[in-house]
């Protein structure tokens, strides 16, 4: 029994020692700066997608800091935190930076993971920290009265479902010709993949096409059975809701069973260069939805090339990734952050914003056509206007791109989603959530 005592004593000693070692020296060097906690996943199975995406983030922020002198003089302090795309590490990163760092203030946190966005919802509500997920947040969080601190900006999967149906309709000659068309959705068997089951069911009832849903268990390296099913069902189109290795395997397996690549439309997370290239020749003609268009022929990218890429300040080790889908996504995301800071500074003054000021800023974003032109981001980003009732943005649009074997060609202009179609269903879901959690929806915008 004295073994216990010694064990406890020494364990306590070890922990205390570790504690004192681990506490960082809290200098106030960050005072006067705006913190941008950069949640990374540079390890783990999804790391390849992060490299260009993180670089887009970092390059744009460096550009703002060094070429534009910060946001109205306020520099952005970037702190990387590795999550390995796991919830646990993500939560630790959140706890580490929610209160700022070395005097730099936290206005918002971009979790870079839909799973983490969900996991942080309750904590963020308690801590009052805005959680921003462009293109990947929770759809019901569009309702800012129930979710004051969640910002699923720019896009969601329900709108995506609508957009691909619109595209297919265009291909078959009109929405009335959709009756009887067979559309198979091959989805990653997870919350993310299942998100489109409901909207497609609604759309299928509306337009009369046959909606076939086929799950692929994670990680999806074997899909023979699923593609045989697709072939057997005589599907005309396939909506590929993939993630990670599932996408190239899907494209290759489709080729093996003879399903044409140009009838497969990949979701936004199945539409990067790294999704198509590993599939080799089989991917030629493969279509995908794009909210973050690839390419380098944009004003802001030219500026980044001149000031960051060519001067060696880019985070990219491989310059060929410049202008790829994920790189541009990173740039766009960083643009939302900086524009939010500008919006908030207009109201609160040219200083770093705190979390409540950040919340106001994200709820009152108004990046209009003129501002987009000033940024040099025409064609890269659609106008983004948020309100208390709409934390996503009033314009939801995407383009369809096609893989030509080397790069992506843009096939359409912006296809806008009809936001009124699902608005009631989403609002009802948000209301049900509020009831379940005992949340009182906000009556008026605060601040």
């Amino acid at each position: 029994m004295s073994i216990l005592s010694r064990t406890i004593a020494l364990a306590a000693g070890a922990v205390i020692a570790a504690t004192s070692l681990a506490v960082p020296v809290e200098a106030q060097e960050g005072a006067g700066q705006q913190l941008y906690p950069l949640f990374t996943y540079r390890t783990g199975p999804y790391a390849p997608s992060f490299i260009p995406f993180g670089a887009g983030n970092l390059d744009y922020l460096r550009y703002v800091n060094e070429v534009e002198g910060g946001v109205n003089g306020v520099k952005i302090l970037i702190q990387e935190c590795e999550t390995a795309y796991t919830i646990e590490r993500g939560i630790e990163c959140y706890e580490r930076y929610k209160g700022g760092f070395n005097g730099a203030l936290t206005a918002a946190i971009y979790p870079h993971s839909s799973g983490l966005d969900v996991a942080l919802t309750d904590k963020a509500r308690l801590d009052r920290i805005p959680i921003v997920s462009p293109g990947g947040g929770q759809n019901i969080a569009t309702d800012g009265r129930v979710f004051p601190y969640q910002f699923p900006l720019i896009f969601d999967y329900w709108s995506e479902a609508q957009i691909i149906i619109d595209y297919i309709a265009e291909q078959v000659g009109g929405h009335d010709k959709l009756k009887g068309v067979k559309i198979a959705t091959l989805y990653h068997d997870s919350g993310y993949g299942r998100d489109t089951i409901e909207p497609l069911a609604i759309l299928s009832k509306k337009y009369g096409f046959e909606d076939i849903q086929i799950p692929v268990p994670h990680p999806g390296e074997q899909q023979q059975a699923q593609w045989q099913q697709i072939r057997r069902a005589g599907a005309d189109w396939v909506f590929l809701r993939g993630w990670g290795v599932m996408t190239p395997v899907a494209i290759k397996t489709a080729a093996r069973v003879g399903f044409p690549a140009d009838r497969i439309i990949g979701d936004i997370w199945s539409g990067s260069e790294d999704d198509a290239r590993p599939a080799g020749a089989a991917a030629k003609g493969y279509l995908a939805v794009s909210v973050f268009p690839p390419g380098t022929d944009y004003g802001i990218l030219r500026k980044l090339k001149e000031n960051i890429l060519d001067t060696g300040k880019s985070d990219l080790k491989d310059n060929s990734k410049f202008g790829t889908v994920y790189y541009n996504y990173g740039v766009i995301e960083a643009i939302t952050f900086v524009e939010a800071l500008r919006t908030g500074q207009k109201k609160f003054g040219n200083k770093p914003l705190n979390n409540e000021e950040g919340q106001w800023a994200f709820e009152n974003l108004d990046i209009d056509e003129q501002r987009i032109a000033e940024l040099g981001a025409e064609g890269l980003i659609s106008p983004l206007k948020t309100t208390i009732d709409n934390h996503k943005g009033e314009t939801i649009a995407a383009k369809i791109i096609q893989w030509n074997g080397e790069t992506w060609d843009t096939r359409t202009d912006w296809i806008k989603a009809d936001t009124s179609l699902f608005a009631d269903v989403i609002k009802a879901k948000a209301a049900a959530y509020a009831v379940e959690k005992g949340i009182e929806p906000r009556q008026a915008a605060s601040n």
Partner: protein, 355 residues
């Protein structure tokens, strides 16, 4: 591996001062309680409570749970996290569908449900021994994430198939804050540690160790091997179920089918091996190691400003290499885990002090 650290107590000269040792024991438990319920809550910051202390304590509890099954009863399990998942999802559904259940009842019932499930997956142990037994619990590890993903009913048809922590409260006290969650975790852990000690020192525990070390002889001695094995799965899974609730509700705040994945099962296995098989407190050492190492490595990199010198991605991969190397090193150097290392260190200190 089968060095029995918490073994059948020997009668002998060591029992010279029974009352002194008992007093010391009581004193230590008291000291432990003071630290856990007095010092820590008053000194620790939100960050420390939320990100370091709570996960360490809960993972330590997970280690105890697995240790009961594997360390004491000798039954290999690679699916600990699956039983945690069963506990968490059971608790969520109980709170959702049986209104008015007090928190302790929820925890108990969740544990019992996990225990029943554990017994089911433990049935193969009646026919198979050794490493191959891992297949059954590994099957559970793949089955339950699938179950909770495939049937949205378990997560109340939520869009993202996640379950989120309900309002944690007990006797009117709100336990939502980091401090509240810590107190919940500490209380439950203290109670379960007590239960673990009772079990381990009871006839049940002794018979487990007998089965672990010499199964044939044990059955000859009249020990009902089959029953004891299933009871091991039941008790271990009971503990794991409650641990799962704590992990999902008091630490993460939300959970989904993949929160309790194979990586987590491996982590728990590491905790048992690093902390020491057949120990109770060793598990907290193991847990501290598993929870702290990635964070410490991160802080070391931050402090040394290495990040600005080279590719951040490369550094995180290097951390993975270092973690794996440390695991191998500990397995080589300290077969009985960190608790044995500490024990030896203390023994050396004692000798030095000439006692």
């Amino acid at each position: 591996m089968t060095t029995i650290q918490d073994s059948i107590p020997e009668a002998g000269p060591a029992e010279a001062l029974p009352s002194g040792a008992t007093l010391l024991q009581i004193g230590l438990v008291a000291a432990g309680l003071v630290i856990a319920f007095g010092l820590v809550p008053s000194l620790a910051s939100d960050y420390w409570l939320s990100s370091i202390i709570i996960p360490t304590v809960v993972m330590g509890l997970a280690g105890i749970s697995l240790n009961l099954l594997q360390g004491y009863a000798g039954l290999v399990s690679l699916g600990s996290a699956a039983f945690m998942a069963v506990g968490a999802f059971s608790a969520y559904n109980l709170i959702l569908r049986v209104p008015g259940l007090p928190l302790p009842a929820v925890l108990l019932l969740a544990g019992l449900i996990a225990a029943v499930v554990g017994v089911f997956f433990g049935l193969p142990a009646l026919r198979i021994k050794g490493f191959y037994l891992a297949a059954s619990t590994l099957g559970a590890q793949f089955f339950f994430p699938w179950l909770f993903t495939n049937y949205p009913w378990f997560s109340n048809n939520s869009q993202s198939l996640t379950i989120s922590a309900p309002r944690l409260e007990f006797l009117g006290y709100d336990l939502q804050s980091p401090l509240g969650r810590y107190l919940l975790v500490a209380t439950v852990t203290a109670l379960l540690i007590g239960l673990a000690f009772l079990v381990v020192r009871s006839r049940l525990g002794r018979e487990w160790m007998a089965i672990r070390d010499m199964e044939t002889a044990a059955s000859v001695l009249g020990i009902r091997v089959a029953r004891r094995k299933l009871q091991a799965y039941a008790v271990s899974s009971f503990f794991l179920g409650i641990t799962g609730v704590l992990w999902g509700f008091a630490y993460l705040g939300t959970a989904d089918a993949h929160t309790y994945n194979l990586d987590k099962s491996f982590q728990i296995l590491f905790i048992v091996l690093i902390g020491g098989t057949a120990t109770i407190f060793g598990n907290f050492l193991g847990a501290a190691f598993i929870v702290l190492t990635p964070i410490l490595l991160d802080h070391v990199v931050l402090a040394a400003n290495i990040a600005y010198l080279s590719d951040q991605g490369a550094i995180t991969n290097l951390q993975r290499v270092i973690f794996g190397a440390i695991i191998i090193f500990i397995l080589i150097k300290e077969p009985d885990g960190l608790s044995a290392w500490i024990r030896r260190g203390v023994g050396a200190l004692r000798a030095r002090l000439g006692r």
